[in-house]
Subunit: 760 residues, 2 copies
């Protein structure tokens, strides 16, 4: 392969560096109105009365819309493909504006004004009287009988799930040891550089156009249609460049409301941009989980059974809800062999911001509990943490008993071997017995598995359209969205490789427009390279076949003996040049009889999936008196099949590991237990790692080939964020002998536990 | 048919009336630079020296570019499809800027500044010294030996053409009478509401984007590529709404230069908008012609031979050049039967603005001479003007001996019969013998034929793409351009009719973008409804077939027995509803196994043509002392096959006839014979008819069906403008007995001739 596998500079690099790439906020629309939401200041209750008269009277205010003005029906917001099967549909529990407030930040009303400042001022002029209930912030509180339900009729249970595979009784009986423990993870925020921003206007034919920083334009169109109760084709969604999403924009946070607001001002453009504070308190967060795990194991470290109970806390609205807990359970199952495995989970409503999709989609939580627990078992049995993992990894070709996914490629063992070498595991382990002193070093490892897309749970439709110009260059349109991950570059490489043209001859349209972009479900589930890549490759193959067939007609040389290499039609057997591709393309545009410019408009419904694997190896130095953990070395080693663009892949790993480090050590949204008010809602208080805090991150890949993936590729987007936390937790354990079962592992927590265990 | 044939309100009506439709000038681009051309003030000569130092020194000026800075190679500008056959290519005689100036207004340099006013000021600071030659404004002057050639090596002859069919010697011998005469037509301007306007910028990958008020985005892309000497795929052309073109924008007037200028300022956006004065003097005009015609006829009025010699004056650059004279000759041939026919023409360079395409493309000139001359013959033989025409019209099914076009439908006779009735021809004729007095009334008629597109001369590729949404509504993309003629509405009707959905479920993308719009050659040659319509219908048929096939799979009812009516799948035999289309469309988006949204991306290479016919009937009252001609009644009767939208068709006729009236009576660009300077270059001096000057225009259609056209339709765009001039000329002759062989027939000319012939 000439172009796939090469570290091409990303196609949007210059535009992004120079600032010419246009984001939502770079769009200038004359006469744009600005909207601000009036948000609940209480976590739980309802609005007894609202007075918007002062707001309406403020000069520059165009309209004030309240919960009284919105449709009565509810709609879902999660960025999932639609299903006609009601049992497969997302929970529709949200109104455009609400009288029943469910978290601090819930949207009660919206002010539309001629500028943002006026909208902000008017928002502050709205008076409201609440009836307040005690905030529900924990599982215990949510399940307390007799309290007002957050959503009537639910008992505050959004969903339940689980499975049991294998003969559990036998497996329990065969176990030499049984281990049980409890873990918990925290609420974190995505912190994409670009906050949520969208504007909407109406075309003169009454259709609504929404321009949004979204990962999911086609799904967004459907949800806006549902929210407003209009046919989905009456909505058009346009996605310009986007400053990150991380799953937060696999949801419809502002689009339904701006779409509704424009209908209230005769179709004038209405924009709503959330501030950083609003993004923290009123968009989406990562689900906090509480876990109880139990594992049966033989003396040699072979797993006999595993049992996980999970409670996921979801906030005030469903969003992705129970899907996260389900995914947590699937990845818990797929990683190791055992005789029997059981998972049970429930997702509860609370009075916190809605938890939605976030990089890893429940799996960072799953891997934190299972990989931490596995180290505790290894330690108890005096087994090497790497050895116990190697012992339990299923062979390549293993078929999951429930979803039927076959791991046609599985490089997890190679990842572990590679990571051991990189960090000099054995050498350091043997030198570290019985450390004393205040600074102690330790090694940790954690493994993960992840899927490439959502099959068979979700639909995996992707589309690609290619048109070839007279000079042989092509335009590529996809419905999948570039959200910073580099998918536009990867798709361009695939097209150049497949057709046989230089990368400079591939022009990708980075903007998605649901009116014209091929239908694709969007960017999530680490599906772009694998799922959309299949459609892209299919379209490129169709173009190549058309070119060679046309060339056959022109040259009388059979298509089968020709190839396209670097923009030339050549003999396949010896590479001898026959004619420039541009001659063929020009003829296909201009021949009086045969003219028919080459196009391909392809949909691919992928009903396969591929497991990506990998692990984190880390060496830490723990300063016992201060509780500070320094990362000395960290390596993420990935089996993502063929790496289409090594530099971009490294970038994904660097970003993901950085996110994982924050998850392990620093990041957490806290809420006042009495009022439910968020205590942290800005980037000063929220301890996001900066470049200065971030250690050098080693990104490595093992060489596998996924037969179902385009050019052998499989998922890479989310995996890097998954295992830093358990690896660091295990390294701290290795250094200090102290187990930390709750994230994040902040200095405060470390000191408290070191004191409790007598280290200080 | 439910929707085709109905007077649907045009799809862009509300947007245009409310001002929300976005034209080039409505696009706001931050940091836009403005360019003004420095134009020659002499008609013929060259620049001995140029001094741009003062212009460069003016604050706000970013760059001054002169003929020294542009590529040496020349390029063509005409909006014709490209041909690899050099003999079929347009004449490439233009540089981006020129030292050798060829008319007053020729572009010598360009100033780029931060705003338009500064650019205008700086343009006035450029000093230039010319060497001046005598201006060449007539055929005689152009062919004078020894003068400096306008383009070296041409002898000022841009092209020659002609044909001879049949046995001329025999035909001459068989004639009872031979008539000969001379005619001439003037220079007129298009006067589209929107002047020429375009801006260009560079994408970060170096591609050039041109946003232009153009009729021909795909051809414009190619010409910009040629002009700059870069691969055509490195250019992207976007066409927003456009305020009229009439053929003037079937040319590249400003696009190559703005595309070049942006490359000189590091890709910053550069805009060039011609003022009305610049549009008059330096865009395109209609070719003036000089004719000599000779006709042999038998005693009963049967034509035996016809012979036409034409000289077309083309201005300083080729533009569409000789093609116009060729088209003039083709339509001269196709209208009547005769034993032999001959045509010879040449097109000469002069020092006037380049003549290009304009509504009718040489045919208003052809019909003025032949239809005027025919009336003179009828008068000489004492035959009724309608009768002599009816006698010589070929039967339906007549095949043109040269281009092979078969007139599968020909309603010209029906048009004549209908026109006679409308104007009460026989009744008025019989009452009008021997008028005296100063006010005299007369009746006139003139016929025309016109083609639907350019086959077999030009390539006729058109494309359409349709995608269906979940609710069964569709988006339609075409590469053909809505330029006010209503094509977007007509295409939408075709799609609604073909698929079987309400018009409100068809969303047409009015903007063309060469990166994504299906390849189409653009709007010209009255080709949209006929040529692009074929592609649109084909795409819609493909969608319908896919829907019914999918419905077969869902319902188990064979596709062949189902139909789609008003958004429902129904039984074909009795119309009974089976399921809403939306159910099928939604399933095709969401079914886990079969999901594949319905799309069609179709190219049609039309190798057919269809002749449209029609005539003008007019009654005038001539005020002999003042030379004023009043139009009492005027009717245009058209055979354009099926009329897809009667109201829009009427609008076409009203606009075209109005243009024809101005051509007949008022409009003319005049040039100072000594200096070549245009004497008329604004809408005050140029006598464009206003609403107050325009009589009530009767638009009528006869009922024919063109088998090759979509739904039986054929050309209508240009035809209405063709025959008002000869019909009025013939009516004046009828009223006064005086022949006017030169256009326009202004009061000054009428008075002069009435004086010469003793009427006053």
């Amino acid at each position: 392969m000439e172009i796939v596998g090469r570290s091409i500079t990303r196609v949007d690099a210059v535009a992004k560096v120079k600032g010419t790439a246009k984001y939502v906020d770079d769009h200038f629309v004359p006469g744009m109105l600005h909207a601000k939401a009036f948000r609940s200041t209480i976590a739980n209750g309802w609005v007894k009365s609202i007075d918007v008269s002062k707001a309406k009277a403020l000069p520059g205010v165009v309209a004030v819309i309240t919960y009284e003005d919105v449709p009565a029906h509810t709609f879902p917001t999660a960025g999932h493909p639609y299903s006609k099967d009601p049992s497969h549909q997302d929970v529709a529990d949200r109104n455009l504006l609400t009288r029943r407030v469910r978290y601090v930040g819930d949207e009660i009303a919206a002010v539309i004004a001629v500028d943002e400042l006026t909208a902000e001022k008017a928002r502050q002029l709205i008076d409201v009287e609440y009836e307040e209930y005690a905030p529900v912030l924990t599982a215990e509180a949510a399940l307390q009988p007799g309290i007002p339900e957050i959503h009537g009729g639910t008992g505050n249970v959004l969903g339940r799930g689980g499975y049991e595979v294998g003969n559990m009784a036998e497996a329990v009986a065969e176990s030499d040891h049984t281990f049980a423990d409890e873990f918990s993870t925290q609420v974190v925020a995505h912190c994409a550089m670009e906050n949520y921003s969208a504007y909407a206007y109406m075309e003169e034919n009454g259709r609504i156009v929404v321009v949004s920083s979204t990962q999911i334009p086609h799904i967004c169109r459907r949800i806006v249609g549902q929210a407003l109760g209009i046919p989905w084709g009456r909505v058009r969604v346009i996605k310009p460049y986007i400053g990150g999403g991380f799953g937060g924009k696999q949801d419809t946070v502002v689009e339904p409301l701006v779409a509704f607001l424009t209908t209230k001002v005769h179709g004038r453009p209405v924009k709503m941009e959330l501030s950083r504070e609003e993004t923290f308190i009123s968009s989406r967060v990562r689900h906090p989980f509480q876990f109880r795990i139990e594992t049966g194991v033989k003396n040699d470290g072979t797993l006999s059974f595993r049992n996980l109970e999970a409670i996921s806390l979801n906030g005030g609205y469903a969003s992705h809800g129970q899907s996260i807990a389900n995914n947590c359970g699937t990845k818990f199952r797929q990683q190791y062999r055992q005789k029997a495995i059981k998972y049970s989970c429930k997702t509860l409503y609370t009075n916190m911001p809605a938890a939605g999709a976030m990089r890893g989609y429940g799996v960072p939580q799953a891997m934190f509990v299972m990989e931490s627990h596995l180290d505790d078992i290894a330690r108890a049995l005096d087994l090497d943490p790497v050895e116990i993992r190697l012992k339990n990894i299923p062979e390549t070709g293993h078929k999951d008993p429930l979803n039927g996914i076959v791991a046609l490629s599985n490089g997890l063992k190679e990842c572990l071997v590679k990571g051991k070498e990189l960090i000099r595991w054995d050498e350091k382990k043997s030198n570290r017995a019985n450390q004393a002193g205040t600074k102690r070093r330790g090694l940790g490892v954690a493994c993960f598995n992840y899927a490439s897309g959502t099959h068979p749970v979700g639909l995996e439709v992707a589309g690609a359209r290619i048109v070839m110009n007279e000079d042989g260059s092509v335009q590529l349109q996809v419905g999948a969205t570039e959200i910073g991950q580099g998918s536009d570059t990867v798709f361009s490489q695939m097209v150049a490789e497949t057709i046989g043209i230089p990368l400079s001859m591939v022009h990708i349209l980075s903007e998605q427009d649901t009116d014209i972009s091929p239908v694709d479900l969007g960017s999530y589930a680490s599906r772009q390279t694998y799922i959309t890549g299949m459609a892209v490759r299919k379209a490129a193959e169709e173009i190549k076949a058309k070119v060679l067939d046309y060339a056959w007609g022109m040259t009388d040389i059979p298509a089968q003996v020709m190839d396209i290499v670097d923009g030339w039609i050549v003999y396949k057997h010896n590479g001898e040049k026959i004619t420039p591709l541009s001659e063929i393309a020009l003829d296909a545009h201009t021949d009086v009889v045969h003219a028919k410019p080459f196009t391909a408009d392809v949909t691919n419904n992928a009903r396969v999936n591929a497991l990506a694997f990998g692990c984190t190896f880390v060496e830490v130095e723990v300063d016992i008196p201060t509780g500070k953990v320094e990362i000395l070395e960290i390596y993420n080693i990935h089996d993502s099949g063929t790496i289409v663009n090594p530099t971009l892949a490294e970038g994904q790993v660097h970003g993901g590991v950085s996110m994982g480090l924050g998850y392990a050590l620093y990041e957490q949204m806290l809420f006042d237990p009495k009022t439910g008010k968020p205590l942290i809602h800005n980037l000063l208080d929220y301890k996001l790692m900066t470049a200065l805090d971030t250690p050098e991150i080693g990104a490595h890949f093992v060489n596998t080939f996924e037969p179902t993936g385009p050019y052998g590729a499989k998922a890479l987007g989310e995996p890097p964020a998954i295992t830093p936390a358990p690896a660091i937790r295990n390294a701290i354990l290795d250094a200090t002998g102290v187990k930390f079962n709750d994230l994040p592992m902040t200095p405060q927590r470390l000191i408290a536990k070191f004191q409790a265990e007598g280290l200080i």
